[in-house]
Symmetry: C2
Subunit: 456 residues, 2 copies
Amino acid sequence: MSEKTIPYKIYLEESEMPKAWYNVRADMKNKPAPLLNPATHEPLTAEELSHVFCEELVAQELDNDNAYIDIPEEIRNFYKMYRPSPLVRAYCLEEKLQTPAKIYYKFEGNNTSGSHKLNSAIAQAYYAKKQGLKGVTTETGAGQWGTALSMACSYLDLDCKVYMVKVSYEQKPFRREVMRTYGASVVPSPSDTTEVGRKILAEHPGTGGSLGCAISEAVEVAGRDPSYRYVLGSVLNQVLLHQSVIGLETKIAMDKYGIKPDVIIGCAGGGSNLGGLISPFMGEKLRGEADYQFIAIEPASCPSFTRGTFAYDFCDTGKICPLAKMYTLGSDFMPSPNHAGGLRFHGMSSTLSQLYHDGLMEARSVEQTSVFEAAEQFARVEGILPAPESSHAIRAAIDEALKCKETGEEKTILFGLTGTGYFDMVAYEKFHDGEMSDDIPTDEVIAESIAKLPKI
Amino acid sequence: MSEKTIPYKIYLEESEMPKAWYNVRADMKNKPAPLLNPATHEPLTAEELSHVFCEELVAQELDNDNAYIDIPEEIRNFYKMYRPSPLVRAYCLEEKLQTPAKIYYKFEGNNTSGSHKLNSAIAQAYYAKKQGLKGVTTETGAGQWGTALSMACSYLDLDCKVYMVKVSYEQKPFRREVMRTYGASVVPSPSDTTEVGRKILAEHPGTGGSLGCAISEAVEVAGRDPSYRYVLGSVLNQVLLHQSVIGLETKIAMDKYGIKPDVIIGCAGGGSNLGGLISPFMGEKLRGEADYQFIAIEPASCPSFTRGTFAYDFCDTGKICPLAKMYTLGSDFMPSPNHAGGLRFHGMSSTLSQLYHDGLMEARSVEQTSVFEAAEQFARVEGILPAPESSHAIRAAIDEALKCKETGEEKTILFGLTGTGYFDMVAYEKFHDGEMSDDIPTDEVIAESIAKLPKI
């Protein structure tokens, strides 16, 4: 198909939208390692997991066999409220860079959560409702996941309790207010509403909290009431499954216009966006049908793929969650408080960790100031003010396009633009004022944290 | 066409996007009154206006004859970055309200300015660039217009100076930061950088400023340097012309699916969104080809249509701008500081004022707390957290739909959803905390302000 016929933005018709999620685990030769019981170190059974997660989500979490899982009609209808998301040809960025590369991005920020998180939030809320539960609990750091879950719960009339990392709760009152608009109750973590919270407060009075601590509190609260369950916005197999809608839509749109990406880039914190975007393409690679270069981009201040170790670790600070085998910096690792936005989890999705371990994808880390330079450059030509998280992928996409400029290669680059930065203007301000730093952890810090991994 | 085939969101193909703006003045029997020279009270000539505005914009401002004006290709390419905007069928809201009405909204918030303002910003910046100017000056209140203009100028490499109402500058640091991301310089108004600013500061030390004052400063600064011009985001004929792209896209999409609206609703401050949305429909009404009910919705705290008078008035506090004939509360009128968001200009577009005066459209005012109730209700079912301005139209659309529920009428309601409220969370917080008030001006206050109108 000729160049000119590719529109700036490709929107699928409703009839073209995916009707099933794709489960990449079905095509993996080496399956991701199972979650372990933190007490016994034995693989968790469906029965044990069902105390934490809804039944259908447990089934999805453990399903390494079925390649496609139907998206219930109610979820597909909700998706229609904000999906399909556009696949955008970055004509303006290409021109600005004077690159022969063709750049595409899948933009997930056109909904009030400001990110892709809503794709899994509505799925998890739907199964909770279907099971007759009263509500769900969760944690949120930067706030996208909490917002997304609040939106989904409000739509389905489910109660939603969000434990928000205290430092974010205080620094981002607007995120909190959006959640309140959707009827969620938002508690700064650590709080005195849980045992684990009280313990952490006693040990570290005045702490600003962490994602791992907020997870512990949310899990504890869900465990107290059989009509509640805990839900999580990233890392888990089920979340990657739901997020596959990103990659599926992208692939359908690209196939429609005869576009084949050479390089696929995504930012990686817990891995939900990256995993979702690459899944169907990775499936082709695993089945030997096509080849792609996959690049995970993580912050240099929280480099789990590039400087972590592949081992079983705790997902939370309170050490009450299942153990997951993943690339990890150790559950005690804390990125510098100067690190803006999300992508600050110490570990990484087990599925992506296995794919990375098997050499099926690459990973790179990028420094914060160079990420914001890319963000501003992108905003000025493509119009969208990107989230700090997404801007990691922009940085890498620009770098790849500039390499093409040197070599003359006409590569097709695809990246995931997960969201918008409207609630991250404090970080942009620091960048403009020259007050942003790149706090890269020393080898000693990482070694110390990794030394505390559980012995399994 | 059967109900089921209408998608949740209708996106036009690029090839279906409008190639010309529609100028409703060409079809008006009674043309809007001309702008007058504030010193002589004579109609301003093109030559006089060209000291303030770019030449092509002057031609557009004065053109009451040509129904269609081509959109230059460069502007159409920029539009492709964030347009077509979706026409959304509010299936979820209809279901929640249990109304037989069909509700559609044209959503203009999916771009970083968060509003429809970008449609005219890029046009005005384009003509400035084409004329070889170095830059433009403007004012901004709530911040959408300043953001939109910064984006357009950054794209075209034009200098952009924004005078931002001081109270907004201080209360909305994030809006300011978005403008800085796009390279604009943002000055709190009143400032000591202008004569008029210094005069106002001397008379009212510690004032939080006003839109009328910021306009005066921006006009003064543009007047000093022949390579600069002043640009304005609403009120003017040229702005309504550019904003007709909203209505044109809407009409093309509706015609495509055989939908005919009975009621068309828009919020009205200076009138740019309302005028843009209704233009092509109003054209049909003026030509006797179809009939529609048009409803302008304004805040009860700044009710220029419903409680103002139709007369010549100043557009700015410093009284250096042209005089416009419009529905006005008097240029000294200031809405209560408790009024959130925009829609706080004392006057109204001359074109819309004439149409209203001729009985071609209706106007209603709504109170702030009921607007935020509607905003929250909408956000919870339609996913989008709306701007306070847009929520005025939501309030009226919900009220119309509830009337249909009583009467059983299956009306088709169309409203303009101009933008998102991500930078208005302070107002949402006040609403949630029960601290929001409805400050309706007394008859005495309005009479006093109107008594000061210039005698013409």
